[in-house]
Amino acid sequence: MRNLSERPLTERLRPAHFQSVLRWETGLAVVVAGILIIGSAASPQFLTGNNLFNLGLSNGEIAIMTLPMALIIISGEIDLSVASILGMSSALLGYLWNRGWPMPAIFAFVAVVGLAAGAVNGLLVTRLRLPSLAVTIGTLALYRGIATIILGPNTVSTFPAGYTDLGINAVPFTGNDMTWSTLIFIVLAIIFGVVLHATPLGRSVYAMGASQEAAQFAGIRVKRIKTGLFMLSGFICALAGVLWTFRLDTAVQNNGLGLELSVVAIVLLAGVSIFGGKGSIIGVVLAVLAFAGIQNALLLTNFNQEATGIVTGALLLASVFLPTAGRLFRRLSHS
């Protein structure tokens, strides 16, 4: 029964889906290569290990958060509360450390809070059938508000060096080129990629994004999987919050403020459709590289660093207009 109803859907989806994704990824790869060439031409420091290290350092947390976001958007939802969960876990880390909790206990507690925050999002979306866009704007304010209540105007920066070194030092045996957050991103990207592209669970995420009703009739546990995705996002954002805190050696209530839109922008740039059902982890990795590369290249070329949003925005527009233009072109050349 399940096989019968599921097979046509996946068969229908796969060819078109792979074609368009590959095309978009090729484009992204060209963009990344272009950035590398222009960047290294503009500045001899661009491709040095030291610069790559800094690149990973300043983009690690955002990169990590894009992975669960990609899954959520592919499943047809969105999570705007990610940066607030990061802020909340950072505030909690600082608060509990100030109260003398041992670090492992804090980690466990922060992880549980991250999972719970994601569960609240997931349950509101799936059980009460509320639109995730509105729900997560609400929890964006709520979780950031909780972070603000926990820490108030205080700043905690008395973390032991053994932990804050994790934020700024290189992973051993990598020749001082790879940060811990980069390593975590690579490992997570591989796991996410395998799960999304090579397991029934991953295929069902695409299926529910393409058509929730069809997925439901195909016997996919849509509600449970979506809740799980939101919890995963909460957990990973809590992890990003810990990394952020150790990197800056600062827990403050506005850590990561406004990052949610950057995370969404990278995921859309990756060719993930805002309507769900389309996208790939390779695309996300390439989009992270493009995003980090552009910021870094502009930094080295004396462009006003804060205005790099112009380039991000332009790429975002390109990501929605190029496929449309391509389709139009193909239709014209066929007729």
């Binding site: 866009l133 304010a141 709520l142 508000g145 769900g276 112009i310």
Partner: protein, 378 residues
């Protein structure tokens, strides 16, 4: 629309009754916000009577004005099942440019500056509108992109500069302080604009079209409504309003730099949603959105007067927003089933001009699976 599709008088009466029901529900929804507002004000006043001081009321009204104005523009866009995330950046750009107009051209008439702000906002709004309406790409992505681009342009123009209130003419800085019989002029002006907006949405054909488009963009297109043009106008109005709001912003804050209005877009969307406008379009009123803005501002002020640290503001906002969304969903579902049980012939009736009631019947399926229909393109 030919005469053949016109319903017979029986159906028309039935529809009028249903429209009445939907109308009542909206009124209940709005009175819900008013009730929460009254409770907040009453409790705060009992504890701290100075909450109802003239100066504090004036303060809240002025604070609400800009916010409610932006909520009006956002309401038009959200009703048509779109969203405008670029308003915060437009406010920032317009605020800086209008303030620097005063600084660079002393003696420039204030209305000219307002027109300049309006023009900047209109340009941004029309750009958004063209991309969404003509390019048929999702507004969430387009306005997220223009949020970054417009803010980037702002940063490039401003650099590290800032305009100080001391370089602005007194008449301009006094705009938020001017009152008529104790009521801030700015609040009166904004109330008039919102009243016009509410009347337009309720009465004008193009206003009703926005509801139809938001309820079901494909059906609206098939019914021959000029979907692209309506959506374009909605974005243009939202942008224009954001431009004017930027000028008002410049008159209220002591310094204007490149961060003015950052993050404001999500607050405006919150106010609109708290005010009962469905995030996936098709239902809601301009009055509701303005009341939403008033409620959120009042809560901030109440917490301040009560001496509760402003650190609680955001958590309470977020909680209230979640309650409002959950409440709306319940109301919509009830309304849908009420309309279904009343109207067994609705499939053959072919509504000529969908009122708010169609939003009820169209929404639950959409909110649970917005992607399944793929109609968020509009």
């Amino acid at each position: 629309m030919s005469a053949a599709t016109l319903p017979d008088s029986g159906q028309r009466a039935e529809r009028a009754r249903d429209a009445g029901l939907a109308e009542r529900v909206f009124r209940i929804r709005e009175s819900g916000i008013v009730a929460v507002l009254v409770i907040f004000v009453a409790v705060t006043t009992i504890i701290k009577p100075r909450f109802l001081d003239v100066s504090n009321i004036q303060f809240v009204l002025v604070d609400t004005s800009t916010f409610a104005l932006l909520a009006l523009g956002q309401t038009l866009v959200v009703i048509s099942r779109n969203v405008d995330l670029s308003v915060g950046s437009v406010v920032g750009l317009s605020a800086y440019l209008s303030a620097s107009l005063f600084a660079d051209h002393p003696g420039i008439p204030i209305p000219v500056v307002f027109l300049a702000g309006l023009g900047i906002g209109l340009a941004c709004g029309i750009a958004n509108g063209i991309m969404v309406a003509v390019g048929r790409v999702p507004s969430l992505v387009v306005t997220l992109a223009t949020l970054y681009i417009i803010r980037g342009i702002d940063i490039l123009i401003v650099g590290g500069n800032e305009v100080d209130a001391s370089s602005l003419p007194d008449a301009f800085i006094n705009i938020p302080k001017d009152t008529v019989v104790g009521i801030p002029v700015i609040a009166i002006a904004v109330a008039v604009v919102i009243a016009i907006g509410a009347y337009y949405l309720r009465t004008y054909r193009s206003g009703r079209d926005l509801y139809a488009i938001g309820s079901n963009p494909d059906a609206a297109r098939l019914a021959g409504l000029p979907v692209g043009r309506r959506v374009l106008v909605a974005f243009a109005v939202s942008g224009g309003i954001a431009g004017v709001a930027g000028v008002l912003w410049a008159s209220q804050f002591p310094t204007i730099n490149s961060t003015a209005g950052t993050g404001y877009e999500l607050q405006v969307v919150s106010a609109v949603v708290v005010g009962g406008v469905a995030i996936f379009g098709g239902s809601g009123t301009a009055t509701g959105a303005a009341l939403g803005a008033l409620l959120l501002t009042t809560i901030n002020s109440a917490l301040y007067v009560l001496g509760i640290s402003s650190f609680w503001d955001q958590a309470i906002w977020g909680f209230l927003l979640l309650v409002a969304i959950a409440l709306d969903q319940t109301i919509t579902e009830r309304l849908t089933s009420a309309l279904r049980s009343r109207k067994p012939r609705s499939r053959t009736a072919g509504p000529r001009h969908p009122g708010p009631k169609t939003s009820g019947s169209g929404k639950p399926g959409l909110t649970s699976s917005p992607s399944s229909t793929g109609t968020r393109h509009a």
